[in-house]
């Protein structure tokens, strides 16, 4: 079976700085994969390469076996890959409902239609309402997204990301900056909405990672130094030495 995502010797330089220095990674379908690593290791950059935001300096990226290197974000999105952003990236001047509806339009086949009225599409409205309930923002339906609380915006970010029904979901630090209870709610939401899908997640919270992930890749200075099950990664001397150590012990406690 082809992998959901396959990276082969992926490289990215910004000017002279080599940020991603030859990454090989294979993520199977329906796998929940966490990417961890210190700040500045290149995790977000790797996301941006996979999703087409940045062009590759070298290497190959395959999505469901198809080479997607050099494609634009919207082309990759149409091939069934969707992502969220580390810094909330929503349509701030539109209502929560409209944000979700925008996330649905392409996947429901509306394309660039200027001959259908969105308010008359009952299936579209229904799907948007369902999503609204799924991310627990039912009572914020007509609120302008820009005035939501931070946690609500993060939930909406997830909602927009999963709206199109993509089967590969990539989340960049979905729980960053959240309180304990908010994090717990977010983890539950992520579990719920990514069921049966391939999930790739950058995360710092070790509790969340060991809770959710089937496999973990450790990215340090643009290289993956370990990629295995949580147990193996936890025990890995290489990882301990390079980066984790103390925080792993914390997660044990």
């Amino acid at each position: 079976m082809t992998a959901a995502i396959e990276l082969m010797d992926v490289r990215k330089n910004f000017g002279l700085a080599e940020i991603i220095r030859g990454v090989d990674l294979r993520i199977e379908r329906a796998e929940r994969h966490a990417i961890i690593g210190p700040n500045g290791a290149g995790k977000s950059t790797l996301f941006n390469l996979i999703t087409g935001k940045y062009g590759l300096t070298g290497g190959t990226i395959k999505l469901h076996g198809e080479d997607v290197g050099g494609l634009k974000p919207f082309e990759i999105s149409r091939r069934g890959l969707s992502r969220s952003f580390q810094i909330t990236n929503i349509f701030a001047n539109m209502t929560v409902f409209e944000n979700l509806r925008c996330g649905l339009l392409w996947s429901m086949g509306y394309k660039y239609s200027f001959w259908t009225l969105v308010d008359r599409q009952s299936r579209l409205t229904e799907r948007a309402e369902e999503l609204l309930e799924q991310i627990n923002l039912g009572d914020r339906r007509d609120t302008i997204a820009g005035v939501l609380t931070y946690a609500e915006q993060r939930a909406l970010e997830i909602g927009i990301t999963i709206a199109g029904g993509a089967d590969v979901i990539m989340l960049d630090e979905p729980t960053a900056g959240m309180s304990h209870s908010e994090t717990a709610a977010m983890v539950q939401l992520i579990r719920k909405v990514t069921e049966g899908k391939t999930l790739v997640m950058v995360e710092h919270d070790m509790g969340v990672i060991f809770d959710v992930a089937d496999r973990i890749s450790v990215l340090v200075y643009g290289e993956i130094i370990e990629s295995d099950t949580p147990e193996v990664v936890r025990a890995s001397a290489k990882v301990k030495e390079a980066y984790l150590g103390s925080s792993l012990d914390e997660a044990d406690a």
């Binding site: 935001k53 634009k72 999105s77 339009l105 239609s113 409205t125």
Partner: protein, 429 residues
């Protein structure tokens, strides 16, 4: 639970009363346009109303870019102007019987020409939004305005080209020789175009124009090319601007370089912004208001453009939502039943503010008269008062009014702000 809610919604949308409610504003608008000439029957009133209608179509088209698509164009007169020039040529071909075309359909062809040109320009100008787009629009505006002097065959050089709308084939006995006929033709096009533009904003591409305006990057990750979304908005805007051009051609029967130049482009930006870019009705309000200033205020003062400029600057600085934004700001206090809280503070602030404005206006008018009236003509009339513009007293009165009024208005402003906060808070008073 969700399923029930949305089926209700769907059911409500198809029931008769809902349909009526959807179209009620358009029916009211149609009746309004139908009976307007009964109230304002004079020739000059009809001229003003026609001009308003054309400006409304143009401003709505412009707002498809600025308000809905987040694209700031400094050269949108080009699309209206080219549509208009094309229509005058068509009119002349129809008059020469080289072509058969009922005059009422002319604006459609103006629209098609505007659309075609927008496709060509938009193909490269919509790659990026923001500054790059604005700069290209400025460049194209300048370019086409320059062409209008050079390419005499199409643009007629300095004096432009003119036509005669009455030379077309008669439809139902109408030859558009009388102004009232032109009014109803223009009004019909206004209604159809405005409705089309409104419904366009409710389609997937209309919604996406908003999305790309808010966050072009995110739209790309939802499967939409920001460039295509912008291009389609741009073409649609060019189409409706072209329709406005066609209406202009029918109304004035002449187009000149002025219809293409940067002044006209700047004016439509000003009109749209004054009216407010955030609401569909904004450009309509702006166009009506501006046309009134242009036609009525200009009868009373030669420096009316100065006031418009000042108003524009004040709007940009203090009310970026424009007049419609100001209007809709009151919806929430109204819903909370708290509009009455605002009444007294408004009065207390606006009275001195009005005095200050009158003082300022008086100062400018006296200064203008003193400098520009012919030698020996020292008497001027302002607000029904006749006085010597070279005397000291009028100056003093104006300065005093401005200073005292301004001071009092500033003193009262915090009061208004508090009242405003209270009127918008959920806490019952």
């Amino acid at each position: 639970m969700t399923a029930i809610k949305s089926t209700d919604r769907a059911a409500a949308a198809t029931s008769g009363s809902a349909v009526l409610k959807r179209f009620a504003p358009w029916i009211i608008a149609a009746l309004f346009l139908l009976f307007l000439p009964v109230i304002f029957a004079s020739g000059s009133a009809l001229t003003i109303m026609n001009q308003m209608a054309i400006t409304i179509v143009f401003a709505l088209a412009y707002n498809m870019l600025l308000g809905q698509g987040g694209m700031l164009s400094f050269g949108h007169a080009v699309y209206m102007g080219l549509g208009g020039f094309f229509c005058v040529h068509l009119m002349n071909m129809v008059a020469a019987e080289e072509w058969f075309l009922p005059i009422p359909l002319l604006p459609l062809f103006g629209g098609i020409f505007g659309l075609a040109f927008a496709m060509v320009i938009g193909f490269f100008s919509t790659r990026r939004a923001g500054t790059v787009f604005a700069m290209i629009s400025l460049g194209i505006g300048e370019l086409i305005a320059a062409c209008s002097i050079i390419i005499v065959v199409f643009f007629g050089g300095e004096e432009g080209i003119s036509g005669d709308r009455t030379m077309g084939p008669e439809i139902f006995g109408l030859d558009f020789g009388s102004q009232i006929e032109v009014y109803y033709l223009t009004a019909a096009w206004l209604l159809v175009s405005a409705a089309a533009m409104y419904f366009y904003s409710r389609t997937p591409i209309g919604r996406l124009a908003n999305a790309v305006r808010d966050n072009e990057e995110r739209a790309e990750f939802l499967g939409y090319s920001q460039r295509y979304v912008r291009l389609i908005s741009f073409c649609a805007s060019g189409f409706f601007a072209g329709i406005a051009g066609g209406l202009f051609a029918i109304n004035f029967e002449i187009l000149t370089e002025e219809n293409l130049n940067l002044v006209t482009s700047g004016t439509i930006l000003l009109i749209t912004f004054l009216g407010g870019v955030g609401f569909f009705i904004g450009p309509i309000i702006g166009a009506i208001f501006f046309t009134l200033l242009q036609t009525v205020l200009s009868l009373y003062t030669e420096i009316w453009q100065l006031y418009v400029g000042a108003l524009f600057v004040l709007t940009v600085m203090f009310f970026p939502g424009g007049m419609s934004g100001l209007l809709f700001m009151h919806v929430r206090p109204y819903q909370l039943g708290k509009l009455n809280i605002l009444f007294l503070p408004y009065l207390k602030t606006f009275l001195p503010a009005t005095a200050a404005i009158l003082g300022g206006v008086g100062f400018l008018e006296i200064a203008f008269h003193a400098k520009n009236a012919s030698v020996g003509d020292q008497m001027m009339t302002l607000f029904w008062l006749t006085f010597d513009s070279h005397g000291l007293i009028p100056w003093l009165v104006c300065v005093l009014l401005a200073i005292v009024g301004g001071y009092l208005a500033c003193r009262m402003a915090p009061l208004l702000r508090d009242a405003w906060d209270e009127a918008n808070s959920l806490v019952a008073n």
